[in-house]
């Protein structure tokens, strides 16, 4: 009886606490623990969601829900006619976070911007290696060291960036997560204290939310930044509840333990959509799942063989069984939402009879090959093994024996890169900045052979088109070049373009104003929660 009373008192207390606390809290069931909170060296989407998209800003940012670039910390900018000089005018009066561990004495200025970039490529900068073995993956990956000639402070609120050669996607690059602006004042203080590692665990930024606490592998807590330059957020507290398993995330959302979650398992989407408290947003993903033939290997050096093998695959069955309908047949390398998408290209047809005939004409009988299956679930391909099983069974019907091979993920990519790799290699890509160059040049340029051109495919016409497109600033001209590139790609078929996955974002109906980012970020700026 006594226990009963205590229990009742406890319930009453909960009710009271709920009534008293006016704070609006949004709980996001995130898919993985962030490595840390300094976006510069990070690589994972989950890392960026927890750092750059909440705590930090960039000079320019993508307009929510699009890949369009808009002013952020830079109010305005000019680009010289030769495309080599970028002058950024910083927004005055931008405040850094004030937390229990740091109180800023000044607003954002040009020093912060220069520091944010210099630490990523100047090896004599003490912050270039402030964590053991750190790499600046994106900065390197986007070829920034090659393009940046100089970065100078003109005055306190003006910064000038000079390039070595014109690069049309540069502005979009600067909107990427790695280009987040950090506080030089905070860095100097930590350096003086001899506590540099704290830069990655106790972050200070200018973003809409400020960091409160992180319990390893469990929960990250933020609060809205009262002095945010674009006004305080409608919610007060933002919580990331780290939940690695997709089914468990779905269960938590259904049980009301969180308000919004990313990456539902395809199998759960139906159930989530059916729940009356939930709302499932969806969007085309800016990604591609594909299978690279090695065009230097016999008989895959013959485009007719490549086309025949593609024709032998029942892509619709893959989309049904693996993507569970959450995918869309890919006829081009870039997804349909991206500008310059060539819709005139006909979709791949499934015709095992004709495929068999084409193989015979090419003199290919009794082909036995390896088929590489990705060992992990990726946004562009939820289950590589299952895709491989389906293709194996399809190819068997045209007399091709496929042995499925796979390795641990890093090993897999290493082996896949080798120019003498045997067999078609399953892989994929998620766009970084919304520019077609980020797909075409990264994945199929001649210079990417041995890096990320898994087909070892180097076609002169294709190469000319994409290199010209990179140097041109005119959007229409670029679009025409990429349209042509897609035609060449289809004639040559260096890879089977499998599918673009659809991205789903289930959330409680209370969540308002959430916008899905085509780049796969999860952004809570401007999101409100109804009482």
């Amino acid at each position: 009886m006594k226990l009963m009373k205590t229990m009742m008192a406890a319930t009453a207390m909960v009710a009271l606490a709920a009534g008293a606390a006016e704070a609006k809290q949004l709980v996001y069931c995130s898919e993985a623990s962030p490595a840390h909170f300094d976006p510069g060296p990070l690589t994972g989407g989950n890392d960026f969601d927890a750092s750059s998209q909440t705590i930090y800003n960039r000079l320019v940012e993508f307009v929510p829900g699009t890949t369009e670039v808009a002013p952020a910390l830079a109010e305005s900018w000019e680009i010289s006619d030769d495309g080599l000089e970028y002058t950024f005018h910083l927004r005055p009066g931008v405040k850094f976070h004030t937390t229990s561990y740091f109180t800023p004495s000044r607003d954002l200025n040009a020093d912060d911007v220069i520091f944010s970039f210099e630490r990523q490529y100047k090896e004599d900068n003490p912050w270039n290696q402030y964590l053991e073995g750190m790499t600046w993956d994106y900065f390197q990956g986007m070829d920034m060291p090659k393009y940046i000639k100089s970065l100078e402070k003109v005055d306190d609120l003006t910064v000038k960036l000079t390039l070595t050669e014109p690069n049309a996607p540069m502005l979009a690059n600067l909107a990427m997560d790695f280009a987040s602006i950090v506080s030089k004042e905070y860095a100097d203080k930590l350096e003086a204290d001899g506590n540099m590692a704290a830069f990655s665990t106790q972050p200070i930024g200018t973003g809409p939310f400020q960091f409160v606490d992180y319990q390893l592998d469990t929960v990250i807590r933020y609060q809205a930044f009262a002095d945010y330059w674009d006004g305080k957020q409608p919610i007060d507290d933002l919580v990331f509840a780290i939940t690695t398993d997709a089914s468990v995330r779905a269960q938590r959302l259904l049980a009301g333990e969180c308000d919004i979650m990313p990456y539902p398992a395809p199998a759960d989407i139906e159930t989530l959509k059916a729940d009356e408290n939930l709302n499932v947003m969806e969007q085309e993903g800016l990604n591609i799942g594909y299978i690279s033939y090695n065009v230097t290997e016999k008989p895959f050096d013959n485009p007719e063989v490549r086309k025949a093998l593609t024709m032998a695959i029942d892509k619709q069955a893959i989309i049904d069984a693996v993507y569970q309908g959450a995918g869309q047949d890919a006829k081009n390398l870039i997804p349909p939402t991206m500008w310059s998408y060539n819709d005139a290209i006909p979709a791949d047809v499934y015709d095992p009879e004709k495929a068999k005939q084409m193989l015979e004409e090419a003199g290919v009988t009794d082909l036995t090959t390896d088929l590489w299956a990705i060992p992990v679930s990726r946004p562009y391909n939820p289950n590589g093994q299952r895709v491989a099983e389906l293709i194996q069974s399809d190819w068997a019907k045209v007399g091709v024996t496929a042995n499925i091979v796979t390795y641990e993920w890093t090993e897999y990519r290493e082996r896949g890169k080798q120019k003498d790799r045997k067999g078609p290699f399953m892989i994929g890509w998620t766009g970084d900045n919304g520019d077609p160059d980020n797909f075409f040049a990264t994945l199929f340029s001649c210079s990417a052979i041995g890096v990320s051109n898994y087909s070892s495919w180097c076609n002169d016409d294709f190469e000319t088109a994409i290199q010209d497109a990179k140097k041109t600033a005119d959007q229409d001209e670029r679009a025409a070049l990429y349209t042509k590139a897609q035609e060449i790609f289809k004639q040559e078929e260096p890879a089977i373009t499998l599918a673009h996955s659809r991205v789903f974002m289930p959330m409680n109906k209370k969540v308002q104003n959430y916008k899905m980012s085509p780049l796969g970020s999860h952004i809570f700026k401007g999101v409100d929660i109804a009482e």
């Binding site: 840390h36 993956d137 390893l216 509840a241 939940t243 468990v248 890093t410």
Partner: protein
């Protein structure tokens, strides 16, 4: 007794050395590349690769790498996680209480249900209760616990909605850890609703993890009890007309519990293994999940030091059990 302890400890030294060699060697022969594991979608340039290799000491001869490692471990430095760049020992210390809390709760359930069930089954040998309990125990002992956990989640959290799906406490409670043990922390804060929430989160994982130890303990208690009940002194006590209840309580129980205590101690290794599965299913932030995540992420430093720390803990517990056993059973010592 002291010589016994010293002898045991002396035997331990080569074992510990062996464990450190194993942990080190395992990680060296893991396929994959620690440097590449750190890089993302874009990879790493060959020059940078060489620099990093040197920085991490992977270019040194293998024996030198081992001695460097051993030396830093002896100084209490277990290395820095490749993924989070935080000291491994800090991560371990943050996550370990969660595993301990889960394991102790599981063991608690196993003991408070298993021992009485075993005693009762032994006393009522052959009854339907005995047969039923032992049937259930054997089923529990045969249970693939990862599957069992999933079933319980579907039923209790999904279908009935009685228990939370995962996590250690409701997210509305924001308590900075003091001891890291959720049950103790919530009480230290005097936050009763938080305590209730922590208990509710703990129940299912503890049941799942406790299933096999419960079955083992029930079976062990029963057979130990049966053996003791057959001993002369118990028969004598019975023959003298002592009430059966007193026979059980006074004579049989104490002697029967000695092997049971050992069994409990020996479950530690199994519990840590079970914790890997349980923590994975319930996304419980403990060291089991930490280890498996690190293996799949190829966080070499964490795998190496994690293995070492876990093995040392298992050994320490086994040693403790040995000593305890020797203490209650003096015959062991002279052997």
């Amino acid at each position: 007794m002291l010589t016994y302890v010293l002898r045991k400890l002396a035997l331990l030294l080569p074992t510990i050395l062996g464990i450190s060699i194993c942990a080190f060697a395992f990680v060296r022969v893991l396929p994959g590349d620690p440097i590449l594991a750190m890089a993302g979608q874009h990879g790493v340039t060959p020059e940078r690769y060489e620099i990093l290799k040197e920085q991490f000491g992977y270019n040194l001869p293998i024996w030198q790498q081992y001695f460097n490692y051993l030396w830093s471990v002896l100084r209490g430095d277990f290395g820095i996680s490749l993924a989070t760049k935080r000291p491994v020992i800090n991560e371990f210390m943050t996550l370990f209480p969660a595993t301990i809390e889960l394991s102790l709760s599981a063991m608690f359930l196993a003991v408070i249900i298993g021992i009485p069930a075993g005693i009762f089954a032994a006393v009522k040998r052959g009854s339907w209760f005995d047969q039923f309990t032992m049937g259930v125990a054997l089923t529990g002992y045969s249970m693939p616990i990862f599957w069992w956990g999933l079933l319980l989640i579907i039923f209790f959290s999904g279908y009935l909605g009685w228990t939370p799906v995962s996590g250690r406490i409701d997210l509305t409670f924001f308590l900075r850890p003091i001891t890291g043990f959720m049950l103790i922390d919530t009480l230290l804060y005097g936050n009763w609703p938080a305590f209730v929430s922590a208990v509710r989160h703990l129940i299912l994982p503890a049941v799942v993890l406790g299933t096999i130890p419960l079955a083992v303990i029930a079976r062990q208690t029963r057979s130990a009890m049966l053996e003791v009940l057959g001993e002369d002194y118990v028969r004598t006590a019975k023959a003298k007309g002592m009430p059966p209840r007193r026979v059980v309580n006074v004579h049989a129980l104490r002697n029967a519990l000695i092997p049971v205590v050992t069994t409990i101690g020996l479950q530690v290794g199994l519990l840590l293994g079970g914790a890997i599965l349980t923590e994975t299913i319930f996304t419980w932030p403990g060291i089991g999940k930490w280890m498996i995540d690190s293996i799949s992420k190829r966080d070499y430093v964490v795998v190496q030091s994690g293995l070492l720390i876990i093995a040392l803990i298992v050994m320490a517990v086994n040693l403790l059990v040995d000593l305890l056993y020797a203490l209650i059973n003096p015959r062991i010592r002279v052997q």
